[in-house]
Symmetry: C2
Subunit: 402 residues, 2 copies
């Protein structure tokens, strides 16, 4: 799962400058949409909080953890869904795409909650990760038994609840009569097209997205354990397969295509969306992996070299195993996944990754993928406001420093 | 989450004998239904296996873990859904209720996978729990890093995938056109009623079920930690609230009501269903808790007194804290949740629970709840075959030894 979210430009700004881009007007609708998505998530969670607190006031802790986490984030997935929807001619102020965007945001929250347990991460979006939050609650209240175990158990359940909530919203977004229920009969393209044909396609994308991201995350976890005993020459290919499924398709391709499907896009347009979003998503994640090793802690919010301690096997480490001397490769292998790596050791590993050419090769790959994405964007058969807005999101995704 | 599944009668057979019950004819349809549900789950997982194995052959391990787990179990929830559906006049061979039953079974599998991580359980349905299965895979393949950590991470993801699959099937069961797609136009009551009104209500029940069971599980986990510092006189009430949400509603009430809603039942019938199923579910779970302390290991498949080692706070322990002497209560408090309890210590705690009258009070409660359930069953406005089949399921649920 991608740890960061795009914001500031940096690191390698030349990579994507071929795109001819007009400035996005501030009234392109995205800001209002993102706000509406945040409001929908908040309203939905508030209503569930009111209902579930009747079971026991203790239950609100679960909902509040989900709410606080979901209030953060930059809504990249929801925004891509929005532009896919608008690119396919969907009504800009559709209630349907707001609800679908809210479902995507809650899915992301659910994935982050479980991802942080798996990666043993202490922080997320500037606050404690959900399992740490519950561990701290346990300590604060002087409860019995093990705070860490309680924290993990509560976070597993919070993630499950959040995953179910996401689904609940998605079902609402694709329900027959969504167009009627929101008082705008006929304006939501997806539903009115051939008796919910758009909604059915969006459901297929949503289901595939969930299964594929979970499969990709499994491959990621597996590679940490199995990578050391598998052939080094396959490491880059394995890392790229992981990136595609756990991140690229999920973070960019599926949201954009889902939005398009919801608005009744034809196959040709959905394929154009994929040709743009898939390489963009790959570049986005590889940038994330570079930041996980070379990022500036003040910017990324994570300790320097954190991905090395976690034992993440990425394109960057894959190239290193191929390019470095046997001694250097052995040193990396020996230290990858050592949670006690100190600053000097991180420094030493970074030097190896840089000196052998692995960092340069990785930056070249990011550049190639960005080029692919932005060439595909030029071909995209959509209104200028859609293309320009996608270009802005795309640039932020590959140029970021956090 | 309930650990056992109903099967053999025993322990307290008198409790439910007031019900006048005709023998259920072997052709009541339940066996064929349960078989069809198992087939649907298997077919669905096989199709996802074929798709996801294209990502990487490694991914099949996730699906196979879900398949093996889902092949077991006695389909109590699916069967209750079936009788709710038939009780409301649904077509006995409806594809829709088979698909909804399959969704319920996969939801149960997902809950069990995560529940076993939370409870640190080694076994499930006669095999290793899913996290143990992946831990063993790690050891067998000689992978690097910690097998237990890998096992838990893989099981979190397997549970997430299973939860998504459950939802996928439920969306299919309630999709517009389910009746047309299965080639039997007009026979599925839920869909043809007022443009999917039945499906909409079933969706509400399904959503509530998921949120409530997760909330109930959280309260269960919380009580293990917070119970020791909360007032003993509230322990039985807290235990009963947990039981209602994490088990009773989920295991019996929601499946039965969901089936009824799907077939377009009116409010009156759905309320009748609840009046039967809710006390039954509570009795079912309290029986489970008694078996967790007093069950015979050869029958339950779990070590003697396993719930004591896990630190489960149940009606049984709640009564003990109320009835036992201060010294005895202190001894229980001190030992509850001690994973290293030996057989002598388990024996000693059992003696305390029995001598102070907590076991007898618990059996009385099971009896009262059973009586309530079976009186409500007599009032139920359904065909004899439905009532008799529900009586059989009900008796098995409260009389079981495993």
């Amino acid at each position: 799962m991608a740890k960061g979210q795009p914001e500031q430009p940096a690191v390698n700004p030349e990579a994507v400058d071929e795109v001819q881009q007009q400035p996005v007007p501030p009234d392109n609708g995205q800001r209002q949409f993102a706000q509406a998505v945040g409001d929908r998530v908040a309203e939905f969670l508030a209503s569930r909080r009111a209902e579930l607190s009747k079971i026991s006031p203790d239950v609100v802790e679960l909902i509040d953890a989900i709410s606080d986490l979901s209030a953060g984030g930059k809504r990249m997935r929801a925004n891509l869904c929005y532009w896919g929807f608008r690119g396919a001619g969907g009504f800009p102020e559709s209630e349907q795409v707001i609800t679908a965007g809210a479902a995507l945001e809650l899915f992301q929250s659910a994935a982050l909650i479980h991802d942080d347990i798996i990666d043993n991460s202490d922080t997320r979006r500037g606050g404690p990760s959900v399992h740490r939050r519950f561990g701290a609650l346990h300590v604060r209240r002087n409860w019995a038994l093990d705070p860490d175990r309680f924290g993990r158990a509560a976070a597993i359940l919070a993630g499950d609840m959040c995953l179910s909530f996401s689904e609940e919203l998605f079902a609402l977004a694709t329900a027959v009569g969504m167009d009627e229920d929101n008082g705008k009969p006929g304006v939501d393209a997806g539903i009115t097209n051939a008796r919910g044909q758009g909604s059915r396609r969006a459901r297929i994308v949503f289901d595939r997205m969930r299964a594929e991201v979970m499969a990709g995350q499994y491959l990621d976890v597996l590679e940490e354990s199995a990578g050391p005993v598998r052939p080094a020459e396959g490491a880059v290919d394995r890392a790229r397969a992981i990136i595609q499924y756990k991140s690229a398709k999920y973070s960019t391709e599926h949201p954009l295509v889902l939005g398009g499907a919801l608005a009744g896009a034809n196959d040709e347009l959905l394929e154009q969306f994929s040709r743009f979003a898939l390489p963009l998503g790959e570049a986005f994640q590889i940038r994330d992996d570079v930041l996980g090793v070379f990022g500036i802690p003040e910017k990324t919010g994570k300790p320097a070299g954190d991905d090395l301690r976690e034992g993440k096997r990425t394109v960057l480490t894959g190239y290193t195993f191929q390019f470095a001397s046997p001694e250097q490769a052995a040193l990396l292998e020996q230290n990858l996944g050592n949670p006690d790596l100190n600053a000097d050791q991180v420094w030493e590993l970074r030097r190896i990754i840089e000196d052998c050419g692995a960092l340069a090769a990785t930056e070249t790959l990011i550049e190639e993928l960005s080029d692919q994405a932005f060439h595909a964007l030029e071909e995209l058969d959509v209104e200028p406001v859609v293309r320009n807005s996608l270009a802005t999101i795309g640039k932020a995704a590959v140029r970021r420093v956090s």
